[in-house]
């Protein structure tokens, strides 16, 4: 530690006011505070502080994302070799996936953090930790076949239009990573829908197996829900889809960590599930009895396992900045996300992934929900004796 500290201390004067690299101070500061929790002490108000800061909170989310990332890497390989009918070892599956996924992660971080640093330098503010999580979320909600330049574009779009124009982390009103995905989804539909979910790099000597469809469960579900993979396969995540979204199990691990540490709101996660289950059951009741494989007949609990629902509910809906801020509001916000996800999935085949749009929609409505909750609070307060 000592040599690093000395290095930082010798470099420091150059980045301070009057130093040679004065303008780069925010960048230096970000690096320094990354390496060392600063020796700043309290000067006003409380004299001691809770040990958690935003870095620790973001780091916890990253740890919570690791199961989905690791599983995603393995599944990319698994889907690839499945498509060619090849049986390979666990390690081979994983290595193939890692080769495909890591470049996407690296591009996302490099470009996004680059933009953050540029903004910090231009505006002279500190680099916020928000992108540590966003940079990981973006790769996990993209198909593995996405061109790298598009990942970069998404990262730029997300940082500039998702956050910085509002004033940076904490000021945005929509989830930046989802915004980036929505941007790609509408700008480059050919790369975001259809036969994009499995990496089909040719394997010499092997041809695609006949059974290969390349469709995600969400596409299958719209035509005939009984064509979907079994609930267990969907729970474990042995299916095609965005890199990190397929395994409900991996998301569950992440959810346990987020809830256990108190970083993610259990209310939102539970409310999302309740909303989807409730709406799913209602669909079952209203489903046309004569069409047995109509999407409305899908068992309600399937909605929790299908597509990106679990990923969205655990990692996206819980983003504290864009979610409802009031405790009662979180219930309403979560339930509506669940409800709209199911509605979009069942009734709008053009957008099979309802959870993305449902969360973005509720991000927009979150302030309204909060407003209603606060007005209600004020009303009950004024009635109090």
């Amino acid at each position: 530690m000592k040599p690093i500290r000395t290095l930082v201390d010798t470099a420091k004067p150059h980045f301070h006011k009057g130093g040679r690299f004065e303008k780069l101070h925010p960048a230096f500061d970000a690096l320094e505070t990354f390496l060392f929790v600063p020796g700043h002490t309290t000067h006003n108000g409380v004299h001691i502080r809770d040990a958690m800061d935003l870095k620790r909170a973001m780091f916890t989310v990253i740890v919570a994302l690791t199961p989905t990332l690791l599983f995603g890497m393995w599944n990319v390989g698994y889907q690839h070799y499945q498509a060619y009918g090849m049986q390979v070892s666990f390690v081979d599956n994983f290595l193939f996936g890692a080769q495909r996924v890591l470049p996407i992660v690296i591009v996302s971080y490099a470009v996004g953090l680059g933009v953050e640093f540029i903004f910090a330098i231009l505006r002279g503010h500190q680099v916020s930790e928000g992108y540590l999580v966003t940079g990981m979320l973006i790769p996990l909600i993209l198909p593995v076949t996405i061109p790298l330049w598009m990942v970069g574009l998404a990262a730029i779009f997300c940082t500039v239009l998702g956050k910085e124009i509002f004033g940076g982390t904490g000021m945005n009103f929509m989830n930046p990573a989802l915004l980036a995905r929505a941007f790609l989804f509408f700008a480059f539909p050919a790369y975001m829908t259809g036969d994009v979910w499995v990496d089909l790099t040719p394997e010499p000597g092997h041809a695609l197996v006949d059974a290969y469809s390349g469709a995600t469960s969400l596409v299958a579900f719209d035509t005939n829900w009984t064509d979907m993979p079994s609930a267990w396969r969907q729970f474990w995540g042995f299916e095609a889809g965005s890199i990190g979204e397929t395994s409900t199990f991996a998301c569950l691990l992440g959810a346990l960590l987020l809830i256990g540490t108190g970083v993610g709101s259990w209310k939102i996660i539970v409310a999302c599930c309740l909303g989807a289950l409730g709406m799913g059951l209602l669909m079952n009741v209203l489903a046309p009895a004569d069409i047995a494989n109509h999407a409305m007949h899908t068992p309600a609990y399937y909605h929790l396992l299908m597509g990106g629902f679990a990923f969205g509910a655990v990692y996206m809906a819980t983003d504290p900045v864009s979610a409802a801020h009031t405790e009662r509001g979180k219930w309403i916000y979560g339930i509506l996300i669940g409800v709209f996800t199911v509605v979009l999935r069942v009734f709008n085949p053009a957008y099979p992934e309802g959870v993305m749009l449902a969360i973005l929609l509720m991000n927009v409505f979150a302030p309204l929900i909060d407003h209603v909750v606060v007005e209600q609070h004020i009303k009950t307060r004024s009635k109090r004796a």
């Binding site: 530690m1 690093i4 500290r5 505070t33 390496l35 060392f36 929790v37 600063p38 020796g39 700043h40 002490t41 309290t42 000067h43 006003n44 108000g45 409380v46 004299h47 001691i48 502080r49 809770d50 040990a51 958690m52 800061d53 935003l54 870095k55 620790r56 909170a57 780091f59 916890t60 500190q126 916020s128 930790e129 928000g130 004033g167 940076g168 982390t169 904490g170 000021m171 256990g260 540490t261 108190g262 970083v263 709101s265 504290p320 900045v321 979610a323 801020h325 009031t326 405790e327 979180k330 606060v374 609070h377 004020i378 307060r381 004024s382 109090r384």
Partner: protein, 453 residues
């Protein structure tokens, strides 16, 4: 014992350095200072000059806005110096106390039970004891012309390492009762006492003779359950244009002495606490006493933070400072100005966090030696729901803070600004991941409403 009001929200920060039940009287320091800055929004007008002899209990300044409110010298002696700051603002009135026994300004010894409300007010004003009666909202000295909705006394303190008020009151039960009798007259039938719920409470209802049992309330729960503001919120919430008064238990004792002993005897019991104190214990001292006379030889080595009051709400102080007027506790903890390599990444079994992001949650019984490190830098508001967990009031803390930042008085009123004080939000500030200065914002909001509203 009546039914306890149970508060679920809040948190007890377990720190090293709780005071042992040892009470040592300390001799007077060579210099004693009265600090007008201890009295919020009082503009002092001097009543003594340098070189003048004063008696203990003789007023040294009054409040320009309300000349009846005076502050007296706790000692007899000679006024040595008036220390002034910017714009000739009076910071300290330094008095060199008599070496021999204190000479007191005499007042009649009377039983308050026989006096009328007006007579009690007059005696408290004349005896310079009125400044112990304070009001909410705004935490100011009460206006003697107001009729308060009630008077509230919290007989327990839940703040970190707080002094055991039950132990302190046990030393001087008679004066406490006399003080209560006087306050009872100020708001007949509306004097409320809050006690710590629990069978081991040392204060019996029989000690509170004259207080009807419906006005004795029991509270249970973690900090800030002992805050008088939190208790008022649950017993009789303050609405716009309402005023309640509150008094600290030790100050009730001083009021009681004025009637029983016929003199302003201001000495009080102060707990010296914190992980940097060699042997934390209680001391009997005078307000205005030089801190070095309390601290010298009793602290550990190293860079220290000396705080007058508890670690959440107290003011930063130093050896050269003087004990503040309302102070019941001194806390000394290490400064934490050393950068920590990858501190946000380590498991952190020795780091206290209400979140379970550090592994210290595996050891719930542990006491901590926390230092003054910020553990991070100030950021925009990100995490939600944290404040709600530590504020046992029907108030939306973040919404209220936002209303304050927006300077929206109507909104602040709707959201309950009149019911709160800075100290009630101290834990919110402690837990804040974004390291926002919550108490400063609250203080600015209260001041804005008071002056502009």
């Amino acid at each position: 014992m009546g039914k306890a009001i149970k508060l679920r929200k809040g948190y007890d920060i377990n720190l090293v350095g709780k005071a042992e039940y040892v009470l040592t009287p300390l001799p007077m320091s060579d210099v004693v200072a009265i600090k007008p800055t201890d009295f919020k929004s009082v503009v002092p007008k001097l009543m003594v000059e340098v070189g003048q002899e004063v008696l203990a209990g003789q007023p040294v300044f009054f409040d320009k806005a309300n000349p009846a409110i005076k502050v007296a010298s706790p000692v007899s002696g000679e006024v040595a110096e008036i220390v002034r700051g910017e714009k000739r603002r009076i910071l300290e009135i330094r008095i060199i106390p008599d070496r021999t026994d204190l000479r007191y300004l005499p007042y009649p010894q009377v039983d308050p039970i026989g006096l009328s409300r007006e007579a009690i007010i007059e005696r408290l004003l004349e005896g310079s004891c009125w400044n112990y009666i304070r009001q909410r909202p705004y935490t100011l000295i009460a206006n003697p012309e107001d009729i308060p909705k009630g008077i509230f006394i919290s007989c327990f303190d839940t703040a970190p390492l707080a002094p055991d008020i039950e132990y302190i009151l046990d030393q001087e039960k008679e004066s406490f009762q006399a003080g209560l009798a006087a306050l009872q007259k100020l708001a007949p039938g509306r004097l409320h006492i809050s006690l710590r719920g629990g069978a081991d409470n040392k204060i019996r209802e029989t000690d509170l003779a004259g207080i009807p049992s419906e006005n004795i309330h029991y509270f249970q729960g973690p900090h800030p359950a002992g805050n008088v503001g939190v208790q008022i919120h649950h017993l009789s919430p303050i609405k716009k244009d309402e005023v309640v008064w509150y008094v600290q238990p030790q100050d009730v004792v001083i009021i009681g002495r004025l009637f029983r002993e016929g003199r302003y005897r201001a000495e009080r019991v102060v707990a010296l606490t914190g992980s940097c104190v060699q042997a934390p214990q209680y001391f009997r001292v005078l307000p205005g006493q030089k801190l070095s006379s309390i601290l010298d030889g009793r602290l550990k080595e190293g860079k220290l933070r000396i705080v007058q009051g508890n670690i959440l709400t107290g003011a930063t102080s130093s050896d050269d400072d003087f004990l503040s007027h309302y102070c019941n506790q001194l806390t000394v903890v290490p400064e934490g100005d050393e950068p920590e390599f990858l501190g946000w990444l380590l498991p952190g079994v020795d780091k206290l966090s209400l979140s379970r992001t550090y592994f210290s949650w595996l050891f719930p019984k542990r006491t901590y030696q926390l230092d003054t490190n910020m553990h991070g830098e100030e950021r925009a508001f990100v995490m939600t729901g944290q404040y709600d967990q530590v504020l046992p009031m029907d108030i939306m803390p973040v919404m209220l803070l936002k209303a304050i930042l927006a300077k929206d008085i109507e909104r602040m009123e709707q959201l309950g600004i009149y019911e709160i004080a800075e100290e009630d939000f101290a834990l919110c500030e402690f837990v804040c991941t974004s390291k926002i200065e919550v108490q400063r914002i609250i203080s600015e909001g209260l001041e804005y409403v008071r002056t502009e509203g």
